[in-house]
């Protein structure tokens, strides 16, 4: 079936380095993608989004890249900080009901 998935379950980076979290999706009809961050004991929170008519979108310290040719999404975090430690999910939304489908999640661990 159609799915959104992540390549790496755990990513460990040094504080100050850049982090890259990857995501693959299989539904070419998906038109909107979101990255969520989930800290321990909390629900997922929005980080950044991108529409299928874009290749790149930048926020504060975060950048999302979309490659529709290979159905790949990535989240780049610049100068990773300890507060960035969390589980990151990519999600796709499609259809009139904006049904969200999530990937399995990647745990980002930031070493001091």
């Amino acid at each position: 079936g159609e799915s959104v998935g992540l390549h790496l379950p755990t990513l460990s980076v040094q504080e100050g380095d850049n982090s890259i979290i990857n995501c693959a999706y299989s539904n070419s009809a998906s038109d909107y993608f979101i990255w969520y961050k989930q800290e321990s004991g909390k629900g997922p929170q929005f980080i950044i989004d991108i529409r299928s008519n874009m290749d790149k979108r930048q926020g504060q310290r975060v950048t999302v890249l979309l490659n529709k040719t290979v159905k790949h999404l990535s989240l780049q975090i610049a100068a990773t900080q300890p507060g960035d430690s969390a589980v990151y999910f990519c999600a796709e939304t499609r259809g009139a009901g904006n049904m969200l489908t999530f990937g399995g999640g990647t745990r980002l661990m930031v070493k001091p």
């Binding site: 979101i34 997922p44 009901g97 904006n98 489908t101 999530f102 399995g104």
Partner: protein, 116 residues
């Protein structure tokens, strides 16, 4: 700020009990969702609703039902709880819109349900 409130943070229920998980949102969102979150499996959609009294099955609806009698409230029902339904349950809501960020889903804090 959008607020999605789940009635309980922690619940312990016995096998065979009927369990109600309640979710309320205060932003007049059309869409509401119930997910369960398990280690290594991410968030899996159980049911979603795009309007009052409307519901659609998600990826794993078996063993669950839902109720949406009012726009702000979406209830998840476990008709006869089983141990394999022990999980973290997350409710979310969103607008029906294609404008940037308007399709964002806002999540509640989650309900950790243990079935013994």
């Amino acid at each position: 700020d959008v607020k999605v409130t789940q009635s309980s943070r922690y619940l312990v229920k016995r096998t065979g009990e009927k369990v109600f998980l309640e979710c309320v949102q205060d932003m007049d969102h059309e869409n509401m969702f119930w997910y369960r979150q398990d280690p290594g499996l991410g968030l899996r959609l159980i049911y979603f609703s795009y309007d009052v009294k409307m519901k659609e099955k998600g990826d794993i609806p078996e063993g669950y039902s839902v109720s949406r009698e009012k726009k702000e409230r979406f209830s998840l029902i476990l008709e006869s709880a089983s141990t394999n339904q022990t999980s973290m349950y997350l409710c979310a809501s969103s607008l029906t819109s294609y404008r940037d960020r308007d399709a964002e889903a806002f999540f509640g804090q989650g309900t950790r349900l243990t079935v013994v």
